[in-house]
Each structure stands twice: as structure tokens, then as C-alpha cells.
Amino acid sequence: MSNSHIFLKSGFIRTPSQNGVGRYVCQLQRVVLKFCKNNGSSRGMREFVESELINFAKNNPGVVVYLKPRRHRAPVISAEFLNGDKQWVSCHNYSKQDISKWLNLLRTQSGNTTGFRLRKLQHTDHPSIQGPWTPYTFKDPAENLAEYPNTELSKPKIQLKTATDELLEIFNSVQISDKKGVE
């Protein structure tokens, strides 16, 4: 198994700037689709631009979409997020569907998450509502009135039977059954 993930930056799942507490703001602020008008590797991107881009822009008026044709270069999606992150997705030989799936992923992300390992899939800032444990949290109120030294309270709370005790018990039970046999 590869261990390369342990060198990734790691952290917990977070929401930028309390997004969704007041209202939800799409965190993708602009996206640049770069493609070539002739090259075969851009075919899917060109098809996407022809057939689906208008719908994407209509459904997401908060995302600014730029198109950047450039000759003989591979197609690329470059996304910019509200927290200042930039994500770059190479779309070499991607189909129309691939590109719309990637765009949907970028639209629903809160920032650039590549090279970032989530330590857990859930997180809370307040793990305990009850508060931290203290030595007095579950203390028996009867102990307030106890007088020390106190033999009862000085005993260990869990006292298991010792081997000697068990042997004695076996010995006693055998003796009783022997007596019964004699009678």
C-alpha cells in the first residue's frame, strides 16, 4: 500500500465564512474554459460550449464564465473560488459529459481541495455540550459527609476474586458433596 497520503496537507472539513447560516452563497466565483478551435483533444470542450454552456450560465448567474480559445494547446478548466483558491483541471480528450461533471464538482466545492486529506468525514467545534470532565463531575454526594480514614471508601472499587479464594471455594464445595456421599 502506498503511504504518500501521509505527506499531504491534512485537516478537517470546514465551511468558509459561516456559509449557509444566513444564506447559501455558491463559492465558485469565476471559471475560465480554455480550449483550441481545431485540435482533437478539445473536441469535448467545444461540444460542451456549443450545447451546454448556455444552460450552465443560466442556472448559475453568480458564476462568471470566460471562454479563452488558444491555438494548439490542451483544453483546461481554471476555477477561482471566493476564498482566493484557484483550481486547474486538465481536460485533455474529455467528453462533453466529463466536462459538465467536473464543472458541477467545482460549482459545489468550497475551495481547492486537491492535495488535501480530510482526517475525518465529520467535524464539530463543540464536541461536548455538557462541558469538560472534572474530578467532581460524577462524584457521589454521600462522599461530602464521609469521615476519613474510612475503610469502606479506601477499598478498591473493583475487587476480583483471587486465585486463593477460588481454590477455597472449590475445596469447600467438594467437601460438602463428599459429606453428602458419606451420608
Binding site: S17, V21, G22, V63, Y66, K68, P135, Y136
Partner: protein
């Protein structure tokens, strides 16, 4: 300097391409011996010059200001008047810079309105609304909350997470926090002018007051001397005396020493707290008592 940087990058790319091309087409059997040292030299020079300094996003080729301003309103789910919003984003420093540019070129410039008046108006809207919202808190707590939310850093944080950082028109780069904070106020005022005060207040509630989510009151407001504060507070409510009592202690005279102190008045618990010394425990108990008195827990 940036031209020098670009020249270095371009030369090295062309050199490498040329060297590989001659090899592939079969003109020569090897890469010339000067190629590697030259590329090395160019590389070290590029390292010496350092990385490209950050450029404002608006200087990029793919930039459409109209589209950006339109998307800003839509992103937040608000209907702004386009001209008022644009005015809210235009700072005085930008107007001055533009005028000077026009003067140097000898061109007549159309009048640009800056957001000065909008900032003032927005400041008042935000401030009044926060005071209204925190009316039920005690005065000093309400003031602390108001100051916390209207601090430059907080407003700048909210503004930059709305996507204001790139679309502000100002002469400074990178945009300073105070400018971002001012722009947030101006945007609130622009919303009021585009729609009405109620809408602007909802906007402030959703974006600014929501920043208090997950915060405790003592994260933001902390009386310096809790015991004295509690004494004064109790006097106002007609209680002249309270008595601290040591409820529990453990591990005294060790580094894990722990004390629990309760504050009582007439055998009634006012507040309880813990600490590594009795004094600290008393103070945390006082904080607990203050919270219970203020919010009737």
C-alpha cells in the same frame, strides 16, 4: 523587471525546443554541448530575479467588469441597481487616479462618482441595525458585540468572502482591509437605495450577524475583573453580599491542582467554577454567575 523575467522564460523555452527539434529531425546526432550550460545559466538568472509579483485580477485578459458586477449581485441573491452598485465599488482613490491619467493624456473624463456618501450611509445602517438587534443584551455586552462585528478585520473578512476583493475599484493593490470594510458598508447602502432598508437589514443579518455562529459571549466580551463586576451587578439587584465557598479540591500542591469554588448568597448558588488555584476558580465562578444573572439560565 517583468519584461526581463518574460524574456528569460521565453529564451529558455525556445532554446530547448530548438535543441530537441534539430535532434529529432536528424540534422545532428547529439545535443550541442553549449545547450545545457546556457539553460542552466538562464535558470539561475530566473531564480535570482524571483517569482512574478501578484497582479490585480482585473489586468488579466479574461476580465469583464460588467459581468463581474452582475454576478456579484446574483451570487448574493440580491437585486442591485447596476449604477448604484458600481458607484458603491468605486473608491475616491480610484477616481483621483483616473482624473490624473486623463489630465496627462489631455482627454476629457466623464464624471465618476465615488462611494464616500454611501460608506457613511451604510455605516449608519449597519450600526443602527446591530444596536437594534442586540437590544436585549446588557449594554456593555451589546457594545462589545457591536464593536466586534463592525471591526475592520471582521468586515473585511465578510467582504472578501463575498467576492468583493477583485471587483473593488481602488488605486491600491493588494486591497487593504480598511478599504474592504468600507466597501461592505457602501454595498449595504447601495442595497438600501436599490430596494429598501428592510432588505439591507436582512442582508446584514445574513452575512454579518451570522459570523457570531458557534461563538460564546465570553469569546467576545470579557470583563477584566469579574469579581468586581459581579459585586457591582449584584448591588444593582439589591444583593450586597456573596460568599465564595470551596466545594471540592483535588491534587493540591501538584501541577494538576484543581479547585472548585461556588459563589453563594443566602445558601443559594449564584455560580460555580473551576481553576488551578482558588483565585482563578473564584473568577471563573464569577463569570458563570454573571452569565446566569444576565441571561437567567
Amino acid at each position: 523587471m517583468s519584461l526581463y523575467r518574460q524574456t528569460l522564460a521565453l529564451t529558455s523555452r525556445l532554446l530547448l525546443k530548438q535543441a530537441l527539434k534539430t535532434r529529432i529531425t536528424g540534422e545532428t546526432r547529439n545535443i550541442k554541448r553549449w545547450v545545457a550550460p546556457t539553460l542552466n545559466e538562464l535558470y539561475t538568472r530566473r531564480l535570482k530575479v524571483g517569482p512574478e509579483p501578484p497582479q490585480p485580477r482585473s489586468t488579466f485578459l479574461e476580465w469583464n467588469y460588467e459581468a463581474e458586477v452582475f454576478a456579484f449581485g446574483k451570487r448574493l441573491g440580491e437585486d442591485f441597481d447596476k449604477n448604484i452598485l458600481k458607484q458603491a465599488l468605486t473608491h475616491r482613490s480610484f477616481v483621483i487616479a483616473e482624473e490624473e491619467k486623463a489630465k496627462q493624456k489631455g482627454v476629457q473624463l466623464e464624471e465618476l462618482a465615488s462611494n464616500r456618501s454611501l460608506i457613511k450611509e451604510g455605516d449608519k445602517i449597519v450600526s443602527d441595525f446591530l444596536k437594534e438587534e442586540f437590544k436585549e443584551h446588557p449594554d456593555d455586552v451589546a457594545e462589545a458585540l457591536h464593536d466586534y462585528l463592525t471591526s475592520v478585520d471582521m468586515l473585511a473578512h465578510v467582504a472578501s468572502h463575498m467576492g468583493l476583493r477583485d471587483i473593488i475599484l481602488t488605486s491600491e493593490f493588494p486591497v487593504e482591509n480598511s478599504t474592504l470594510a468600507d466597501t461592505f458598508k457602501a454595498v449595504v447602502a447601495a442595497l438600501k437605495q436599490s430596494q429598501d432598508v428592510a432588505r439591507a437589514q436582512i442582508f446584514v443579518k445574513d452575512f454579518l450577524i451570522s459570523q457570531l455562529n458557534g461563538k460564546e459571549i465570553f469569546d467576545i466580551w470579557n470583563p477584566e475583573k469579574p469579581l468586581e463586576y459581579l459585586t457591582n451587578l449584584l448591588k444593582q439587584r439589591g444583593i450586597n453580599e456573596f460568599e465564595p465557598r470551596l466545594c471540592n479540591q483535588s491534587a493540591a500542591n501538584t501541577i494538576l491542582a484543581n479547585y472548585q469554588v461556588g459563589l453563594y448568597n443566602n445558601k443559594k448558588l449564584l455560580g460555580i467554577g473551576w481553576g488551578e488555584s482558588i483565585q482563578i476558580a473564584k473568577e471563573t465562578a464569577a463569570l458563570d454567575a454573571i452569565q446566569r444573572l444576565h441571561y437567567q439560565k
